[in-house]
């Protein structure tokens, strides 16, 4: 391989990703110190921390190198290091399974990428992305389409786009929590970087179906992700499914940007991509925060099953508060960051629907509806995740004995929670650099007439129809709440509060068993979406006599239709063909000698023909 050179990008896109990775990596590493303490041997700790550190470095290199082949090397390094980190608790059988699935899926992705990269080299004869870009411009559309499909499949497998997402809910929860937070927060974003750099930046958006396909994938990913999250009761797996969902929301921005760029709506394209990038930063931060929170809960209670948790807000007030901030951000509630970016994505889809014609109008309207449904379901999911984990009464002894985690872990979470608030309130300041980043990708300069401040003004300017001021909303919320509080206290005096029992219909002594469970909470969703989730339940009553039931066993499972109908047949085919090959290998040395002889003859004939 001639000339493997290490030159780096020095453009806003790469710097943006470096900033995102570092913003999450630093608190995660701070968190890891106390989190890992006392659980593992010193040697394993050093090894784990070194691997985590190398993993971060590999990600930083992935988003900066210019040489395509070097990119592939670091991409692979990043994948392998994360594979080792998933196997950190290799005693656990689930870790091994998760690692294997991850390794297979990530290499399917890498195979597509390698194919795409070699095709690029074949077409252009260059490895440097900047040198490749002009050479690719004159490529016929058919070849570009082929490259697009390969790159989309390759990066899609890493990003966890449905239906290539199946590894994600296995792999992310098995790693130690700070690594989960890095994997979900930033590693899958390197795939978004890849899409932006290799598809949007290199190939552009020559056909409208590229953007449309990404929008459809976005809608499917976000809905599938959130539906699986709703019925999931392992806290970290739930969060992993939300990563699938949020990658979908980011792709709404990316897909819309490609569509607008192709149809000549340059300014809107920049805004759409900026919305996607905004959600990318936000997701990195709140998902990182939520995974750290889940880690704190796991550290304090030793379980990730939310059915065994409850009441943690009393013993772990800080963890609860920071997790609540993360939950509000991911549910797009004002005034936090998720609200601003989802609002912006929604606005972009609306503006697109108003500007485009015909079928594309309908597509964007349906995308907006899908995004709204996703938002609603995500809020429901986090009412469940936060409510069942932190509120009400402890459902197990472990949860009862939970203690607040050490201060360094809370510092890491608190820092990210603060960022959630600041990125929400400082929207105009954040959007400006994001527009510059988006401009380098779409190739169009940021329209001079457009200033992001217009979107976030206190009162609408003439001509600007959409406006939202997160700061104003926070002020209004605080002022109205405060005014109501003062008014009621002044007129009616302080409210007399008595602590009493929860209403129990006169039965006395409710126990935690009487509480609503996560399974019960998600039941309406399981039933309403049963066409997709395919729930199965088994109720078994253990009777003492004909009239009295001693106990009930309730079991509910859902069919993972992608695993069952897409991957299982494929794996079955692989095994069956393996069995066929086994027939050719019966263990007889005579037969093997015969094979060698036959091969020799075929080769000789082959050589003679040449």
């Amino acid at each position: 391989m001639p000339g493997l050179e290490f030159s780096f990008f020095n453009d806003p896109l790469s710097w943006f990703f470096v900033a995102v990775i570092l913003t999450l990596a630093i608190p995660s590493l701070l968190f890891s110190y106390e989190y890992l303490k006392g659980k593992y041997s010193a040697r394993k700790l050093i090894l784990g921390q070194a691997a985590t550190f190398a993993f971060v470095i590999a990600m930083l290199l992935v988003v900066t190198v210019r040489h395509i082949f070097v990119f592939l090397i670091f991409w692979e390094l990043m994948s392998l290091l994360s594979y080792f980190l998933i196997l950190f608790e290799k005693e656990n059988e689930r870790s091994v399974l998760a690692g294997t699935i991850y390794l297979v899926m990530t290499h399917v992705g890498t195979a597509f990428l390698a194919a795409a990269f070699f095709l690029i080299y074949k077409y252009t004869g260059a490895w440097d992305i900047l040198a490749v870009k002009p050479a690719l411009a004159s490529l016929p559309l058919a070849q570009k389409n082929l490259l697009f499909i390969f790159l989309l499949a390759g990066f899609g497998a890493k990003a966890g786009i449905v239906p290539l997402h199946i590894w994600l809910p296995y792999a992310h929860p098995q790693a130690p929590s700070h690594v989960s937070s890095l994997m979900s927060g930033v590693m899958i974003k390197t795939a978004i970087y890849g899409m932006l750099r290799f598809i949007f930046f290199l190939l552009g958006a020559p056909a409208p179906w590229w953007g449309a396909l990404i929008l459809v994938l976005a809608a499917v990913s976000s809905l599938v992700g959130v539906l699986y999250a709703l019925i999931e009761h392992d806290l970290k797996t739930l969060l992993a499914y939300h990563s699938v969902e949020n990658i979908g929301i980011i792709l709404f921005g990316v897909g819309a940007a490609m569509l607008f760029s192709q149809t000549g709506l340059t300014a809107l394209s920049v805004l759409a991509l900026a919305a996607g990038l905004y959600h990318l930063v936000n997701h990195a931060i709140f998902k990182g925060l939520l995974f750290l929170g889940a880690g704190s809960v796991y550290k304090a209670t030793g379980t990730r099953d939310i059915e065994k948790l409850g009441g943690l807000i009393h013993n772990m007030p800080w963890t609860a508060l920071f997790f609540l901030v993360g939950a509000m951000s991911i549910s797009a509630l004002p005034p936090f960051n998720g609200f601003v970016s989802e609002w912006l994505t929604m606005v972009v889809l609306f503006l697109g629907a108003m500007s485009l014609a015909g079928g594309l109008k309908i597509l964007l309207a349906l995308c907006a509806a899908a995004l709204a449904l996703t938002g609603g379901l995500a809020a429901a999911c986090f009412v469940k995740a936060f409510g069942i984990t932190f509120l009400a009464r402890p459902r197990s002894h472990k949860a009862e004995l939970a203690k607040e985690v050490p201060i360094s872990m809370n510092l890491a979470s608190g820092f990210l929670a603060l960022l959630c608030l600041l990125l929400g309130l400082g929207a105009p300041l954040v959007l400006k650099p994001l527009m510059a980043v988006a401009g380098t990708v779409t190739g169009a300069p940021v329209p001079a007439s457009f200033s992001p401040v217009d979107l976030f003004v206190f009162t609408p300017q003439p001509g600007s129809v959409i406006h939202l001021s997160p700061v104003l909303i926070l002020i209004l919320l605080a002022a109205i709440g405060g005014a109501a509080f003062l008014l009621f206290n002044l007129v009616w005096g302080r409210s007399k509060q008595t602590v009493g029992q929860t209403w129990d219909c006169g039965y006395y002594r409710l126990t935690p068993v009487n509480e609503y469970t996560a399974t019960a909470f998600s039941k309406p969703f399981r039933i309403a979406f049963s066409f997709f989730l395919q729930p199965y339940r088994k109720i078994q009553a253990y009777k003492e006599s004909h009239y009295h039931i001693r106990s009930l066993a309730y079991e509910t499972r859902t069919k993972k239709i992608f695993g069952e109908f897409l991957y299982a047949p494929f794996v079955g085919l692989l095994f069956n063909s393996g069995k066929l090959f086994r027939k050719a290998q019966p263990g007889s040395i005579h037969l093997y000698l015969g094979y060698i002889f036959a091969t020799l003859i075929v080769l000789l004939l082959f050589v003679r023909n040449i």
């Binding site: 807000i313 509000m328 797009a332 509630l333 004002p334 609002w343 929604m346 606005v347 609306f350 629907a353 109008k361 309908i362 309207a365 907006a368 509806a369 449904l373 938002g375 609603g376 379901l377 809020a379 429901a380 009412v383 409510g387 509120l391 009400a392 009464r393 609408p460 129809v465 959409i466 909303i473 209004l476 919320l477 109205i480 709440g481 109501a484 509080f485 009621f488 007129v491 009616w492 409210s495 007399k496 509060q497 008595t498 602590v499 009493g500 029992q501 929860t502 209403w503 129990d504 409710l510 935690p512 009487n514 509480e515 609503y516 469970t517 019960a520 909470f521 039941k523 309406p524 309403a528």
Partner: protein, 280 residues
Amino acid sequence: MTTNLYPMTQLILLIVLAPLVSGIITKIKNNLRLRKGPGIFQPYYNLAKYLAKEEIISEHASWIFRAAPYIVLSATVTAAALLPAGDLIALVFLLALGRFFLALASLDPASAFGGMGSSREMFISSLVEPVLLLVILGISLSAGTFGVRPMTFSAGLAAIALFLVTLAETGRIPVDNQETHLELTMVHEAMVLEYSGRSLAILELSAYIKQLVFFTLIASLLFTAQASILFFIIKLAGIATAVAAVELLVAKMRLFRVVDYLAFAGIIAFLSMIAIMLGV
């Protein structure tokens, strides 16, 4: 100064008059049933009574339970403040904020009723949101802005969709029933079951305001040519009568039928969008 004062007066009027709308609906219902029923000011008497009463708070509840009423109130009022020409998308998100905290607060006292209400409320609202957004998108498509504009066939369709959504969002039959305390049927009432005294008053007031916000949205889709305050009040009265009539004529649905109901609303909202694109 007058331009700044006008929305402020409007907001205060909206808050003050919100309980009256509920009182009127109850009155209409009772008259149609040939009953006497409480006067139209009964909601105010209730609020005044609750505000002065002692609160009983569950021993298991945390600060979320105590803070939730104020958060719900301020989120609802902020949403109402966006009404005249504000950004309707943000309005949806703000209502979601209030709902999120109410759903958490109802889980907080460790009662099964609260959990039931919380789960059902989040279920219904997650299906309501896309319909609401489609209606808003329809409005924006027809007007070119996110404000509210003239009466067309499509606006009529959007109003119907919005009316169906309003019934779901304000806890009315056929989706929920404000008059019941039967655990099998309640949604909103189950969520506020543990609340008493001042907190209950605040939550009830928020529910009234939210109801008037939705009524105002519907009213601003209908016959917008006449912009007088009097005509607006007539429209509100018409909507209130329609809500009362529906509550009397229709039976409450099973929870899982709500999916079909809201899907129907969604289809109407989508049709209104297509009507806009066809220019009617």
